[in-house]
Amino acid sequence: MTELVDEAITRAHRSEWARVVASLARRFGDLDVAEEAAAEAFATAVERWPRDGVPPNPGAWLTTTGARKAIDRLRRESHRDEKHQEAALLYDEPPEPLGAVDDDRLRLVFTCCHPALSSDARVALTLRMVGGLTVPEIARAFLVQEVAMGQRITRAKAKIKAAHIPYRVPLTEDLPGRLDAVLTVLFLVFNEGYLATGAGTDPVRADLTAEAIRLARLVHELMPDDGEVTGLLALMLLTEARRAARVSATGELITLDEQDRGAWDRALIEEGHALVRSRLAAVAAGGPPPGRYQLLAAVNAVHTDGRDARDTDWSQVVALYDRLVRLDPSPVVALNRAVAVAEVDGPDVALALIDRLPLDGYHAFHAARADLLRRLGRSGEARLAYDRAVALAGNTAEAAYLSRRRGQLRSAGGT
């Protein structure tokens, strides 16, 4: 019985937190009030549900309880202007139809990812307000002191309030840029999980990748027709699907060509492929051309298509990167394109492309060079490149893989 109640609370937290915070934030016009009241509502549930039973509609119960908590707080704070108080006290039930509640969550996402906030603050605020992670959890995720993380979130909420950052979905003309900011936050969370940095952390942080996917699913549910939202979700699913096969039992990175494809998560791959296919169909039907997340998702769809790494359609991958380079001419994209070019035109062609890139401080640049030099039999240069890559790699599994590769270089020759 207690276990069932615990499970119901956990489930409610996962599925209702954002909804409760979002609807309280709209009703009371204050993120801080909304967050605190939502937290109190869940604490009350932990206390009451084991005794009184799980309510038939947990979400509605939590929202109503949260609203009462917020009203209690506003009553205590006399400085709030009267109109504000009246508005808050007038209704005991949210008067909006159910459809508007979804819009609330979207408002919450856009507010937390507002471009007037620093990138760090956007990530932290989104995980707290939308994801429902606690401050200590977020602090651990980003290797920041709890106090510092708490201050970061408090400062961000204070700026939203003092600068009057609006609580709404941006106007159509601002939407592409603002949505891009939201997707960047989600992708940052995902990547921090997928290529976790820091010597003391696990090489893959499944909690963070799962959270990023959960948030991406939410945004996709709220904006199902947006191609880039779909693309980002597909990209995450197709990457997450390979997670179990990506790090060996000894904590070493396993590259795509050496992964056990039987260990991939077929359900995630099928879901990801279906999303990519839906975008291909939408673009073919005259929709807007694919953006970077759709193109990256398509690249990952190609990588997860064959039964064997040797079946990979590399010319398709190069073609997708060609389109990506046109959208984003950054050297990192050019580096990834060059890695694909090596499979089509050979390592010498790819090396010539890579050597031109201004990426000396980036571990992946040296790792890619090292691999190409190795394949060209230039062991001495490869060794130096592996050294640089290992020194710069922040991920323990990647460093272990690169060190092993370096050790396997033929010691003789050196040319």
């Binding site: 400085h79 202007d81 507002h114 003092a162 609006p166």
Partner: protein, 128 residues
């Protein structure tokens, strides 16, 4: 309605054309800024706007002691200083940021947007 200060920063030392490379671009910037100001007035955002003399004309006054102490020059030494500003009323930060982007383009400078204290935030301060 929330009120915002939109400040424009420029070099501490100006040339004969203010912050602009030549007379032609100076006149064009003045013209564009004037048009932007007219639009602020027409759309009901305008509260006040003006440009400041070069920072070397500033005097700092410390009146906390028995006699005021005067110091020639700006309060803070810096390479860039406040050169002019707008005060606008806007419904929220999104509107203020959009106006700041237009103002920045018109006057050819970076614009800092900063909210004024409100009655509510001031009351909270009194009760803290």
């Amino acid at each position: 309605m929330p009120r915002y200060l939109m400040s424009v920063y420029g070099p501490a030392v100006r040339n004969q054309f203010g912050d602009y490379p030549d007379k032609e671009s100076m006149l064009q910037a003045f013209k564009d800024t004037g048009a932007f100001n007219d639009k602020l007035v027409a759309d009901g955002y305008f509260v006040f706007a003006d440009g400041l003399e070069q920072v070397s004309t500033a005097t700092v006054v410390d009146g906390r002691g028995a006699e005021p102490v005067l110091t020639d020059g700006p309060y803070l030494e810096a390479k860039e200083h406040l050169g002019g500003f707008w005060v606008i009323d806007a419904p929220d930060l999104d509107v203020a940021l959009r106006l700041a982007a237009e103002g920045s383009k018109a006057c050819r400078g970076k614009v800092e947007v900063r909210p004024f204290q409100t009655e509510e935030s001031f009351k909270a301060l009194l009760e803290s």
